[in-house]
């Protein structure tokens, strides 16, 4: 089973890579066909990736949420799916250009990680694991795509690239994504708090991971207030979205590697 899992993950990463290249070529040559093929590559990648995840689930007998490899491959899968949904709902060009690189990097990174199936350590043996990591993948995945659209906005702003979607559309899309993801981010913290209360008897202990999830939430809270209350739009909002996702990355990866704490599941 490991072969199917590992090989199809590499196939999926390759498809995401192809989607990324097609997305970049779309920017270079402005052919709508290239954007469509990027989306097609993403669909293929998502199917291959689903096979890899299916093999993992059938081998381990549980959802792939328990360690860095499992959460990273699920994260990459989530990003690919979210790009396709955004492409379908908003019918915006260059959605793949914006976020396929992140899906590719996440899948590539996952493919290098230790894939051994470990028994769930006692602290993780809880249904809250599914809720906590499940909402985190949704929130982080959508934030990843919003990062991509914000970067496109900044590119458009700097180079006046006519083939990219209108600035207003990118700005609005970035906002819609963040607005949709934010309640999930709140749920990440809430499920984590309720779970910690059940496992350790304390719902908040200023563990570095907890603190960084709060910082990330505060950044997006700032973005939402700046927009909804003070009416900030455009460039400054795009930079906010970029910084927000950098905080997401740091919460997800940086904290695990730099600090020790309750979330030390990265080995």
């Amino acid at each position: 089973m490991l072969n199917i899992e590992a090989n199809f993950l590499i196939f999926a990463a390759s498809a995401y890579f192809a989607a990324m290249i097609a997305g970049f070529l779309f920017i270079a040559f402005k052919k709508a066909m290239l954007d469509r093929s990027a989306i097609l590559f993403l669909v293929v990648g998502l199917i291959l990736h689903t096979i890899s995840l299916g093999a993992r689930i059938s081998a381990s007998g549980r959802l792939p949420f328990a360690n860095l490899y499992e959460s990273m491959t699920s994260f990459a899968w989530g990003i690919a799916l979210i790009i396709l949904i955004v492409n379908y709902i908003y019918n915006v060009k260059a959605a793949a250009t914006a976020a396929a690189p992140i899906a590719f990097l996440a899948a590539l990174y996952a493919s290098t990680l230790n894939k051994a199936i470990e028994p769930l350590m006692p602290a993780l043996q809880s249904n809250w694991l599914l809720a906590h990591v499940g909402v985190a993948i949704v929130a982080y995945g959508i934030f990843a795509v919003s990062f991509g659209t914000a970067v496109l906005y900044l590119v458009k702003d700097k180079y006046k690239a006519r083939w990219l979607p209108a600035k207003e559309k990118l700005d609005e899309l970035t906002y819609s994504l963040i607005a949709f993801a934010f309640p999930f981010m709140i749920l990440v913290i809430i499920t984590g708090a309720v779970w910690a209360e059940q496992a350790w008897g304390t719902y908040w202990s200023w563990d570095p991971k907890e603190t960084w999830s709060l910082i990330t939430t505060l950044i997006y809270l700032g973005y939402l207030h700046a927009r909804l209350v003070m009416g900030w739009q455009g460039k400054i909002a795009a930079w906010f979205a970029v910084i927000g996702f950098l905080a997401v990355i740091f919460t997800y990866l940086g904290v695990s590697f730099l600090f020790s704490g309750l979330h030390s599941y990265t080995q």
């Binding site: 006692p122 949709f180 008897g201 939402l224």
Partner: protein
Amino acid sequence: MKNVLSTQQLLERIWSLFSSNVFAVVLLVILAAVSLLGTVIPQREAPEVYLKLYGEVFSRFFGFLNLTNLYAAPFFYIILGLLGLSLFACSCNRLIKLLKEKDGLYHWGSFFSHLSVLVIYLGVIYGGVAGFSGYAQIEKGKDFLAPGGLFSVRLNDFNAKFDAQGRPLAYTSDLSVRENGREVLRKTISVNDPLSYKGLKFYQSSYGLTGWLEIRGPGGKIERSRISKDACCAYYTPTGQRFHVVEMFPDLHVLHGRPIENYEPNEPLAMIENIGWLVKGKPLKWGKYTLKLLGAVEYTGLQVKKDPGVWVVYLGFLLLTVGVGMVLYVKH
């Protein structure tokens, strides 16, 4: 008359400060920055750790500024308190808006989200004032009198399970709640499944072994000492001989590369510093002394907690989720 007016003016100034967006944003930025600092500087470590990391001047400076126990520092509570006041002012303003206008869901959602954080604050404060948190170490077969003295908790059995590679699978404590000498409740707790009784909760937190060391000294003098896996304490004989327990294992098999499946001290053994392994039932001669491991028993370490505020916090969570959902998911 003039005086009264100026007081009112002052209050209005304060109110408009606390309800201003800029003030709230500045507070949020400060909160984020200070929280961040607390993840960069290790918190609540021993003084030596800071001395090694930052040198003498800076470690003293950080200690003076409370940066080494930042989340419990007065200035941190002041930031949180000011944020609470700002939230209160915002919530009131939103409520006033709500009563004036009829633009429903969005403003209700906004009101609920701001109010929810205040509700969470209240829950945290209530829990902090009316609750407590502590640690209980109970040996197998022994009772622990719960704080408040209403009942006691007995450890019937502790078990740690490992797989063939020695990775932990489960830690469980079989507990009985006893009142007036009678068992009123029995439950086997595990890491994600605490015992709850009369407002107190008992969480599986740690475990270990404790044993008895018998030392026969010169002239046949026998002494007994309690030893523990934690190796917290060394045992000194009156003549100054030191026996320091480095490790304790419940079973000999763990030494032969075979991990223990069940944590039962069938053949306990202890590693005594500079001397070697001492196995139960096999006395060891060391100079003028004869050491004997009489036996060992497992103990469980329980986090004991009372937090009546937790349901208020959860109510705040619910309000927060509903409120944020109403603001962001309802078209306006």
